[in-house]
């Protein structure tokens, strides 16, 4: 059964800058700034392709990146929880 689906704001709503291995991101709708470590920015990036649940996001990430065999949905869901708390994604 599919898990909760999430939506991310479009690229135009955020400003993102790489700073030595981390990303700092300004979210215009809320005016807040966040510091993100991998894989949070990459999850946001593939989520912008369209609303998705953790399983779908994992598929999109596998298509774009070399993921370790241990990469699982549980970790993706944990990242989505964090991004939701930060106000960067919301439930569809």
């Amino acid at each position: 059964m599919a898990g909760a689906r999430y939506i991310a704001d479009p690229e135009s709503a955020v400003a993102q800058v790489a700073l030595d291995g981390l990303s700092v991101l300004f979210h215009a709708p809320s005016g807040t700034t966040h510091v993100l470590a991998a894989p949070a920015p990459e999850i946001l990036g593939v989520l912008r392709e369209g609303p998705a649940d953790a399983a779908e996001l994992l598929r999109r990430l596998r298509a774009r990146f070399e993921l370790g065999s241990e990469a699982g949905e549980e970790a993706i869901r944990a990242r989505l929880d964090e991004l939701e708390t930060a106000g960067l994604v919301r439930r569809a």
């Binding site: 790489a18 291995g21 510091v35």
Partner: protein, 143 residues
């Protein structure tokens, strides 16, 4: 010395764009990591340390509007005389005292050590509009 970086775009993985119609010869590695990891930190500046040189402030414990309420160990207000609760503090705490109390548990002069924790929790629970809140915010305590 660290030099500035000119890279724009998402951090960490650095990838080549996938071309339409053919598979890229190499994809970047992305470590998904453990579920328990923390990867999103929200920046929450307070009034910032400059206020420390701006302002000599005080926090009354509890605020005058509390009318003699006692302070439970978790910092909430309870009826006067409640078992195990701390009495109102006879004098307001100065900003420097609050900073030391919250940062390293230093008990302010003349304060009962068994009550100090309750007072600390009371301070941490202060909301905008309550007497002492702007003083607390100006001490730049992370939430």
């Amino acid at each position: 010395m660290n030099g500035g970086s000119d890279e724009e775009g998402t951090g960490g993985s650095g990838r080549e764009p996938a071309g339409g119609g053919f598979a890229p010869s190499r994809r970047a590695v992305l470590v998904i990591g453990a579920a328990a990891a923390s990867t999103v930190i929200t920046v929450r500046p307070a009034l910032a340390q400059t206020a420390g040189s701006v302002l000599n402030c005080e926090i009354p414990i509890p605020q005058p509007a509390a009318g003699g309420s006692y302070i439970a160990p978790d910092g909430t207000l309870v009826a006067p005389g409640t078992q195990g609760a701390a009495p109102p503090l006879g004098r307001p705490l100065r900003g420097e005292e609050v900073k030391a109390l919250l940062r390293s548990g230093t008990v302010p002069a003349g304060v009962d050590p068994t009550s100090a924790q309750a007072y600390a929790h009371y301070i941490r629970r202060l909301q905008a509009g309550m007497s002492g809140f702007t003083c607390y915010a100006s001490l730049q305590m992370p939430r």
